[in-house]
Symmetry: C2
Subunit: 634 residues, 2 copies
């Protein structure tokens, strides 16, 4: 079969591919990163490229206007090479990979009374061994074990082959004065490393907490001796270009070498974060001897290279919720190869370790009051309960509130519209943009505000339908779709109108309805009225920036007094940090995982009813939202 | 620096090397195997090659006669390239790598009463799991653990990441009917593999026992269910070309990438044996789920890539005598990656697992009679004791009895002179050659016979000196060295005289004296007279072919009635096989390792005295050898 030359304007050199190759495949070959949030299914339009010369066969033109096609646009995931072509990548679509540290740095307090000797599962022990002699030819390993037993009361030590292989040199380099770093966790103590010196007892010992979000990966570097967090870093999850939600990623991972590629991408992200965190703390990665990892179940499976397909298909089971302890070398995380890597326990396919860790850091499992915990991310996970019982469910909210699945949606970075007000007489909007400057799109908090404002000003009705009767040019039809123009082309960074379409509105309604319905089903399962809930805790980095009032106005959050809400930021990484420091906190997360009763919504008729009722603004039953009712009453 | 072309007549293509390159380095580059029994120190002469064109600089001509040099001979390990050269490899020196199965196949009986359910540490359990459903979304790993607890009473199962990653597919492929293979050893049961079927309980489960000898590696493939040995294979240790004794190998391993190379060579040998054994049994290597490994401490260290340097240097300590359990993937042994690999425990730098396993299989640790166990290999290890006490020592006998360190020595294969008789009037020898045909050299049993015959016929005196006064052309001086001609050039396979030199005799005397002196020191340490010993057990593949009478005549073995001797063959692999089958046998080897009191001879003045006294034929004190004394009395 004949080969065709494909030239990407951003690639170093052309690539040769056979007839029938997808442009996304050619791009991969040419080392050109193309976003595929929908997993290459032609749904999201994020992989749009421009054909400059030659022609391609378009399998699908979904998400492209006739105008787009005339201008040469094609979806790379749907375009088949049939001859030599030259491809140009639209600049605004180039993959962003930048640190989002500014928005994630959180204030952290070392837990009161933290005592590494009591709480830490990794110990550093200073040992003085008697050197071997012709009268004492004990082997190095037995000599070390004996010293450890006699000087630290640690028995039954084990070690991997590489750890064992390093002891001889360390013992001699330290002239029989060494510091042993040992993982004390059951079933038997394990040697992590032997260092040729007597370290003073306040010398730092390093650990990391990692939260693998579907969108953002966060990492905290902590001194296990003092408990202090020395650096907090975050970066987009490198898998984003292979699918924006967990379902797209599972599909991608199940094709060809997809699983290995996904594993490689997340390891790349984690290891670059490790590098940055270490540079800031002026240490080297091999000084890190422990890691705790949280994330939703899909993220953990993809990190570990475990098959994730069954998470996607009924009856939705994971390979493993409670992963046995691993070492860094087994996982590929670039820290000390013998470092303990503990993936904290999840509960179900869609309630992962990010939620169990979040429950711990929120303290929900130890409250007297009945408390609702909502983590609004790519999925909306909900926990309801107190110190006596805990229910949980996942709402398949979809990524709408993270800016995906929405035409002009984007993540909460520079250029995102994060707040909106609409004039009730002119229907003209006023916007606030992250970082100031011209807007590029709408992020989650902006979408919530927009929806609320449109509803309250009559731009949309309670069913979410755009009111075409209003005398404003902002409500219009384009490509057979109704939409509201948030910003005109001449006001935006990319010279295109920023709009919200009726399809976008529908997606947002479904997302908020899913979360609210999940809350309702949990309350019903517990035999409670909704107003039995005394407190609402909102987790997730995104949650931190929500305007509560507007979230209540659209019916995303229940209608309760402001003081009942608490915004906790990234509860997942806080929980991972607490488990990193404290084995009792870690055990408590295990207890939470075992205590959490998971309600599968996809099998629950009550959910469908509650969901349908919630597909209105704020809800079919307006009496549930008295403050909104009051606002609507003239 | 200019490159020079080096052409080996046995290589596929020339190699380019810079000035100053050793021919051994060039040979390695050209993939030409050259023997270096002395480790490249110019001592052994085994790497002799012929320079056909061009010239090399000879750093050392030790072991080469003026005649040799005139003929173009050079030692590859001492010859430096200074221009283009053409090298020819003398055919008789080409490295042999052939199976020696004929000589190693041993008769094996499955231990009486062997019951895998009771004795075997690896279990195969048939499990029937209930499939997941919307009402039971338990993850695969918990589901497996629960089934194992309920159906087999096995709790606290753990698994490596790769084993965990494979369970989902196995569970579904087997439609929730699976066979779990589990290592039951403490501290917690470990999943080796999950197979998608219910195997009938008599389906074989495979294991291997490996004995890594300095010279020969032996491997037995056994069915862990029936206990039956299905194939026995052996091959030369691939490390031989890098040094014939353990000291040379440690030196080689300590240079540059030597350790990795040594590890690679022994793994190559083991893995090719695994292949052959599997082919014979019509199975594949990944069906092997367990391995036990024995060998001297140096071999175990080199296999595992552990630093071995301290074994060679006073105070002679190993990195580890009791290696923690490993997996095949951690060691590089090419069987099921999760297979348990158990390196059986050694006692000291020069008393390894081959000896503890040998003691087990000889039954010495459970005898009432005081028993002497001698393993004559590259080192001579000795154990003295009974069920109440056990003493051991290593004698640094050197490889003389294995045919190395002797000018015309060779291993016990085709063409080796294995038995000799000398006419006491004519001093003419009669020889027996392994495989018939013309002789190529002298193997261990041949050397013992030769030494005994020369002594008894007066060719040498009790000090080992050749009697130049005898009227025979067979005693002569060549290259300033006295020697006795065993076979003339026209009778031999390679057209050269086969001789034994005064240097060879000296080496043999030292070897036998070391072993006998070790025996004496052990007896003295136990406060016993030598004749308190009731039985002598001789282990080692080599030991099987010794002529006891002649071994007594030279003073290698003590002068005792024939019926007191027992020749056990390769006791090391027998012990490894018993430990492979039976966890109680394995525990007994551990007990033996702990019970054995090691006497360090290099620090013992008694040894030097005993050694010096034993440097005579059969001994300074002839009264210790009454039958020899009688034979010498006219």
């Amino acid at each position: 079969m004949a080969g065709h030359s494909v030239i990407f304007d951003t690639a170093e050199s052309p690539v040769e591919v056979p007839t029938g190759t997808l442009l996304t495949e050619a791009a991969q070959l040419a080392n050109v990163a193309l976003g595929q949030p929908c997993g290459g299914q032609g749904r999201c339009g994020r992989c749009a490229i421009i054909v400059r010369a030659g022609s391609v066969r378009r399998r699908s033109t979904l998400r492209l206007s006739a105008e787009d096609i005339a201008a040469g646009y094609a979806l790379a995931c749907q375009a088949v090479v049939e001859g030599d072509v030259q491809i140009s990548i639209p600049p605004q679509e180039k993959i962003e990979r930048r640190l989002t540290t500014d928005r994630i740095a959180a204030e952290v307090h070392v837990p009161a009374g933290y005592d590494p000797a009591r709480h830490q599962s990794v110990a550093r022990v200073a040992l003085t061994l008697s050197p071997p002699s012709m009268d004492d030819q004990t082997d190095d390993w037995s000599r070390l074990q004996t010293a450890l037993r006699q000087q630290a009361g640690i028995d039954n030590l084990t070690a991997s082959l590489p750890a064992l292989g390093a002891i001889s040199n360390s013992l001699r380099a330290g002239q029989w004065q060494v510091s042993a770093v040992i993982d004390l966790d059951p079933p038997v103590p394990r040697l992590i490393g032997l260092f040729p010196m007597h370290a003073p007892s306040d010398t730092p010992l390093w650990g990391i907490a990692i939260d693998i979000g579907t969108t953002t990966v966060s990492l905290w570097l902590a001194n296990l001796i003092s408990g202090e967090v020395r650096s907090q870093v975050a970066e987009y999850n490198g898998q984003i270009t292979r699918g924006e939600d967990v379902i797209s990623r599972i599909i991608y991972a199940s094709k060809n070498q997809g699983a290995a590629e996904m594993q490689g991408l997340i390891l790349e992200t984690i290891n670059s974060l490790v590098e940055v965190a270490c540079q800031r703390a002026r240490i080297t990665p091999d000084m890190i001897v422990k890691a705790t990892v949280v994330g939703n179940s899909t993220m953990i499976h993809l990190l570990l290279g475990l098959p994730a397909e069954s998470i996607r298909l009924a009856p939705f089971v994971t390979t493993v919720n409670q992963v046995p302890h691993l070492t860094a070398s087994a996982t590929g995380i670039g820290i000390h190869p013998e470092a303990t890597v503990e993936c904290l326990p999840g509960v179900a396919s869609y309630v992962g370790a990010d939620i169990t860790a979040g429950v711990l850091s929120s303290g929900l499992d130890d409250t007297e009051d009945i408390t609702l915990f909502i983590d609004i991310g790519t999925n909306g996970e909900i926990v309801l309960g107190n110190r006596e019982w805990l229910l949980t469910c996942a709402c398949s909210a979809g990524p709408a509130f993270e800016g995906a699945g929405v035409r002009d949606g984007m993540r909460a970075t520079q250029g995102a519209i994060e707040e909106i007000w609409i004039n009730g007489d002119t229907w003209e909007p006023t916007i606030r943009v992250i970082g100031g400057g011209k807007p590029r799109g709408l992020c989650g908090s902006g979408l919530i505000a927009l929806l609320a404002e449109m509803f309250l000003t009559g731009v949309i009705d309670k069913g979410g339908h755009l009111n075409i009767g209003l005398p404003t040019p902002r409500i219009r039809t384009r490509d057979h779709t109704l939409e509201y123009v948030v910003a005109w082309a001449d006001e935006t960074a990319n010279g295109r109108d920023i709009t919200i379409t009726s399809v976008d509105i529908d997606n947002l309604l479904r997302a908020k309805a899913a979360i609210y319905a999940g809350f309702g089903v949990l309350a019903e399962s517990a035999g409670l009225a909704l107003d039995a809930v005394a407190r609402v805790l909102v987790g997730g980095a995104f949650g931190k920036y929500i305007n509560v009032e507007k979230a209540v106005e659209i019916g995303l959050l229940p209608d309760m007094p402001w003081e009942c809400f608490e915004f906790l930021g990234n509860t997942a990484i806080k929980g991972a940090y607490l488990a990193l420091l404290d084995r009792f906190a870690r055990d408590r997360i295990r207890a939470i995982a075992n205590r959490l009763t998971y309600i599968e919504l996809s099998a629950d008729n009550r959910f469908y009813e509650a969901f349908t009722s919630a597909l209105f603004l704020p809800h079919t039953d307006l009496s549930r939202f008295p403050t909104v009712q009051a606002a609507l009453t003239p």
